[in-house]
């Protein structure tokens, strides 16, 4: 990937604009911007990022909005009524050194496929309009997937490349801590991957897919793209399981890395669920996306809400008796602070201060497209969706999850 130098005056702390859909307690906007402003636990100390969040554009102000309280708390922070003004700090041209775009949470319409129409593309377009008009660009972070529309996602990546600014996007999972603290060895001959997550399509599928993809991309030859995706829901999932559609050892490995596997036993014995017990433990109809990669790698992502509360993945490696498996650590219990945002915030700081992206944006482009194809397949009665548009290749080297 090409990266440009970071544009800012020497010796000055970078100034950051936050473009936020909704800023309330525990929304992604609150979690990330508050960490950038007030710091967070990192390594063995409280870390204050070396940047200043100076402006916010907030799209929706629900009753429990906290952005106005934050504006009062931080004298250098101002909320502007438009994205252009937030980026130009009320002036006539780009006046910040980095943009943090978080359009997750808030009240937005759903389309007939069940996708929430978060305005990520709109926010991005308005951002690059300012870049173009100002004749310069700065690093941009986009939270979660790029868009619900793949053409727009592709356009966002192309625009970033055209204008030459560092662009980072995606879920917090790939950079989160892992239990155990391991990565798939680079160059592994991966034959099949299974990931198990929680939640619903369009909100949590992307998290599980990103977790799987940050392992998949380390296989021999690097990433080659996705050939087809098929979504399954409800009984189709259990039927495919009975037909041997995926390696059962990988499914078991995922559940054995879970920290919250629900036992079927009424007397709370810590048992592994039998095939017969599984459907009763999943609280809503299960979902699976069957993913065929261009180089022959096969992957299956599950959303099995209720069976466990965490996200795990397992990889079958050629000629190795036991699968590689790992848990992506999001905290152990609902009472925990969502500190998986700490490593994400750390990478955002590096992006803005140093112009560093921890992984190629193509990862998020691919997972964005895979999630959309899975949702399309479910919408079309579980039809196989061929995905020539996901012919996306890229290479990674460094392992960038939180190890320390």
């Amino acid at each position: 990937m090409t990266q440009t130098a970071v544009h800012r005056s020497p010796g000055k702390r970078p100034r950051v604009a936050g473009l936020i859909s909704e800023y309330r307690r525990y929304s992604h906007g609150q979690n990330i911007i508050d960490r950038l402003m007030g710091g967070y636990g990192w390594e063995s100390q409280w870390h204050y990022p070396e940047l200043d969040v100076v402006s916010l554009y907030v799209d929706q102000f629900p009753e429990n909005d906290l952005s106005r309280e934050r504006e009062q708390r931080h004298p250098d922070l101002h909320i502007y009524p438009t994205i252009a003004e937030a980026l130009s700090l009320g002036g006539s041209e780009l006046a910040v050194d980095g943009v943090v775009l978080i359009a997750e949470h808030g009240d937005y319409p759903l389309n007939d496929k069940g996708q929430m129409l978060y305005p990520r593309y709109d926010f991005f377009q308005q951002t690059v309009d300012v870049f173009r008009a100002s004749g310069r660009s700065v690093p941009v972070f986009c939270d979660k997937h790029l868009s619900y529309n793949f053409d727009w996602a592709r356009q966002m990546v192309d625009t970033a490349q055209e204008l030459g600014f560092p662009f980072m996007a995606g879920s917090s999972l790939p950079v989160a801590r892992r239990v155990p603290s391991i990565d798939l060895p680079l160059g592994s001959e991966a034959e099949e991957i299974v990931g198990i997550g929680v939640g619903n399509i369009d909100s949590y599928d992307i998290h599980a897919l990103e977790a799987m993809q940050c392992l998949a991309e380390r296989r021999r030859g690097g990433e080659t793209g996705v050939k087809s995706v098929r979504g399954l829901r409800g009984d189709s999932v259990w039927q495919a399981m009975d037909e041997g559609a995926w390696d059962p050892a990988l499914f078991e490995a995922c559940l054995c890395r879970s920290l919250s596997l629900k036992p079927a036993d009424e007397t709370h014995r810590h048992t592994y669920p039998t095939r017969q017990e599984l459907p009763g433990l999943v609280e809503r109809p299960p979902v699976a996306y069957q993913i065929q990669y261009n180089d022959g790698l096969k992957a299956t992502m599950f959303l099995l809400p209720g069976l466990a509360q965490d996200i795990t993945a397992a990889v079958r490696i050629k000629n190795q008796p036991e699968p590689f498996s790992v848990l992506f650590y999001l905290g152990a219990g609902h009472h925990m602070q969502p500190n998986f945002f700490n490593p994400l915030s750390h990478h955002i700081e590096n992006l803005i201060c140093k112009g560093e992206t921890p992984f190629p944006i193509e990862r998020t482009l691919l997972t964005t497209g895979t999630a959309i194809a899975g949702i399309d397949s479910l919408h079309q009665g579980e039809q196989l969706i061929n995905t020539p548009h996901l012919d996306i290749s890229y290479q990674v080297e460094a392992s960038t999850f939180r190890r320390t």
Partner: protein, 395 residues
């Protein structure tokens, strides 16, 4: 297929919340281990349950389902009704149940008494098998010392202790260099949870340069004295920051409006903590270690130490129900000992921590005085390689 080995479970109380379930039943139904559901090559064949009259008792159900017998005495459970020791290993789990407490607030679980009865059988029958003893050896250091002495005399493998030293660490670190100061943060009641926290701390400092030298004095202080001791430098605010930086707890402002809080440097900490206490431990080699029990502020167990001049810290991973995975980590260690005949780490660690806790609680009821502890000046050899689950292997 190799013959399956026979295991006896000797316990105080067996309901779904008890260690008998969380620990012992892993040998009935297996447990997650290295990404597989592991089924130990053991059958629980005999059990003794001290208190089984309650409605929640599960031992009768389990005995019926898995085909083992609950015997009226410990000796009968080990001999399976014959006149000779008839099992290959013993799981001693005397945690939970209705037992009196002493004036120090220690629950008088009959671990020593159960252990002595097990050893009586070993002596009478002229044969010993490995014993796992859950949590501390005894509320009494004197009894704990006798238990370890009996194991050494009869030369049988003894593993003992909390699950905290063997659960996953975030990050997975050990301290091998010069450690001059350490601080552990724990929560929960005494003497249940302070024990876990002290043993977690001990498992971190025992690998320090120079090896374990033992403890020369302890003191337990409470309330405002805890904060005052921090101001006086008796424990380090820098290490408090280091440990809290590893906490994932949500309290105070973080709970009301989501903002993460630098509790180590705000007044909020003192407001949040109800009844703080500090367990101040002075080691023979000069190491100063402190356990802070911070109920109200945090809900997890974290640690920091200055090692070779650098602050290093971690969280001990204790995921709650369902599945309480840390107990599976501990049973993995018990099973390793049952299989190999060698304890993965020495019972002397647990013995030393029994002594630290007993003497700290003695300090608590004697006007929070500093107490010299000549009986705790002892050394032991930590395991050659770290024994926690998820410890890095290889380069």
């Amino acid at each position: 297929m190799a013959d399956r080995k026979k295991l006896a479970i000797i316990t105080t109380f067996w309901d779904w919340r008890s260690h008998a379930n969380h620990m012992g039943e892993r040998f009935l139904v297996g447990y997650p281990r290295d990404g597989l559901w592991h089924h130990p090559d053991f059958d629980i064949v005999g059990a003794f349950v001290d208190q089984r009259d309650g409605d929640d008792d599960l031992s009768s159900h389990r005995a019926k389902e898995f085909g083992f017998t609950v015997y009226p005495t410990i000796a009968a459970a080990l001999r399976l009704g014959t006149d000779q020791l008839a099992v290959d290993a013993v799981l001693l789990i005397a945690e939970h149940g209705d037992y009196p407490s002493n004036e120090k607030g220690q629950k008088l679980y009959p671990r020593f008494e159960f252990f002595s009865q097990i050893v009586d059988v070993f002596r009478q029958d002229g044969r010993c098998v490995p014993v796992f003893n859950d949590k501390h050896l005894s509320y009494s250091f004197d009894k704990a010392r006798q238990m370890v002495a009996m194991a050494r005399e009869l030369d049988f493998p003894l593993l003992s202790g909390s699950s905290l030293p063997v659960t996953f660490r975030m990050p997975p670190i050990t301290l091998e260099g010069h450690v001059d100061e350490a601080l552990m943060i724990g929560v929960g009641g005494s003497d249940a949870m302070d024990y876990h926290a002290l043993e977690a701390m001990q498992s971190m400092v025992e690998r320090r340069q120079g090896g374990e030298t033992g403890v020369r004095a302890v003191q337990l202080i409470e309330g405002a004295d805890v904060w005052r001791a921090g101001e006086d430098g008796r424990w380090s605010r820098r290490l408090l920051e280091g440990a809290l930086a590893r906490s994932d707890s949500r309290s105070g402002i973080a709970l009301t409006d989501g903002r993460p809080q630098d509790l180590a440097h705000s007044d909020e900490l003192e407001e949040l903590v109800e009844d703080p206490s500090a367990y101040l431990i002075e080691y023979v080699d000069g190491l100063k270690a402190t356990l802070l029990m911070l109920n109200g502020a945090v809900q997890d167990y974290t640690f920091a130490a200055r090692c070779d001049g650098e602050v290093r810290s971690l969280q001990f991973l204790l995921p709650g129900a369902p599945n309480v995975v840390y107990s599976a980590c501990l049973m993995q260690k018990a099973e390793e000992m049952f299989d190999s005949g060698k304890a993965p780490y020495p019972a002397e660690r647990t013995m030393l921590v029994c002594g630290m806790l007993e003497r700290c609680l003695e300090s608590k009821i004697t006007d929070h005085q500093r107490l010299e502890t000549p009986e705790l000046i002892l050394s032991y050899q930590p395991p050659e390689t770290p024994q926690f689950v998820g410890a890095p292997t290889g380069p």
